[in-house]
Symmetry: C2
Subunit: 227 residues, 2 copies
């Protein structure tokens, strides 16, 4: 009981666990176990960084954890302060942007023993249908910061330089702007295409929406997948 009260008072960044779970749900679509764990991990890494440091972030997985970083730190993929290097490990690093000195926090598999549901989920020991999601989330909250490891790291110099895209030109094949350093034509027109079919003549917004489509009314702009 004492443990549960302690857990209920646990905070994630400046949020209570419940506030963070609501925030995660609105951004990530649902309160996934990974985003909840990520909250405790980012919180731990942040507490271990010196006060007032301008930090960047590296995430070693593309699953869930990047969203916890984006919710709890100034680092996002779009502003370039979060880099996702998918090494398949559930770990993140916050590091001082000039020196590269930082803290890496990872899920420590050796500390999962007291948490059977968390262990079974994380190591995929049981089919999804046999998982108890409610119990899993409760175990993650009760475990708090206790199942993670922290270590001092110095990140590779390549993460410390801000890459400039350099000069911009218009691709003579597709007619769109692209970084000159990519080559004579843009990467898509060099063959890295993402589409089986592309409408050859693009429409202007007025042509595409002659009567003006209705804007969405839900909180995040568009209908959620979960809803």
């Amino acid at each position: 009981m004492e443990r549960m009260i302690e857990s209920a008072m646990e905070r994630i960044g400046s949020y209570s666990v419940e506030e963070y779970m609501r925030l995660a749900e609105s951004f990530h679509g649902h309160t996934s176990p990974g985003v909840l764990m990520g909250g405790f991990m980012v919180d731990l890494a942040g507490r271990l960084m010196p006060e007032g440091v301008l930090f960047d972030a590296i995430c070693e997985t593309a699953s869930c954890l990047p969203d916890a970083i984006q919710l709890l730190t100034p680092c996002t993929v779009g502003n370039g302060w979060l880099k996702i290097i998918n090494l398949g490990r559930y770990a993140l690093t916050l590091y001082e942007k000039h020196s590269g000195q930082g803290t890496r926090v990872f899920l420590d598999a050796a500390r999962l023993e007291p948490w059977p549901e968390l262990k079974a989920w994380f190591l995929k020991l049981r089919p999804k249908a046999e998982q108890d999601e409610e119990r899993l989330l409760a175990e993650i909250v009760k475990a708090g910061r206790g199942v993670y490891g922290a270590q001092a790291v110095l990140v590779e110099p390549r993460f410390l330089q801000k890459k400039s895209k350099g000069a911009i030109d218009i691709c003579r094949v597709c007619g769109e702007a692209y970084p000159v350093q990519d080559g004579d034509v843009c990467l898509a027109c060099q063959g890295e295409n993402l589409y089986v079919f592309v409408q050859p003549r693009a429409l202007s917004p007025t042509e595409a929406m002659p009567h003006g489509a209705e804007p969405p009314s839900s909180a995040k702009g568009y209908k959620s997948k979960g809803g």
Copy 2:
């Protein structure tokens, strides 16, 4: 004047332009021209999708635009519904997740002529010190959806399958969990390391924080880089 009133009434998703700019600032760190443009682009793509469709997103640049997608749609990098394939083009695609049918919206360089500040910024025609940020943002708002092109696309089948990480094992070098399909040991221990130095013996949270570091008090959890 009429044009300005019209622009002021422009909406981005379910937000007014001002609301969206505040949201972008809190998430992205500042109201960047790219995130503001991205708002109009995601809004346009969303309006061109059929009602009630469950869509995924592809972003063809890593700069700014991914954050507009994450703010305005259910798609995030962490939930896997947003894929960033950096082709250096300022474009995004929303597509029905099973069929791959979607709408691609891109900045149409041919439509920039009436907007000198926007054109100079986007095509990097002037050094940053000579840019007028206020005028640039005002031009983006006034241009509204008018500087973008839209086209129907069918995305490559590889984007329609959900990739499973498969079985998980413990890496016998670093002791962390990793996807077995990556090899005998995890990718980091195969040499894709991100760090010049890693503290050999990781600390438990209790060892790392003997007296408990103070949690942050700012809105996004940790001190913003901008502040």
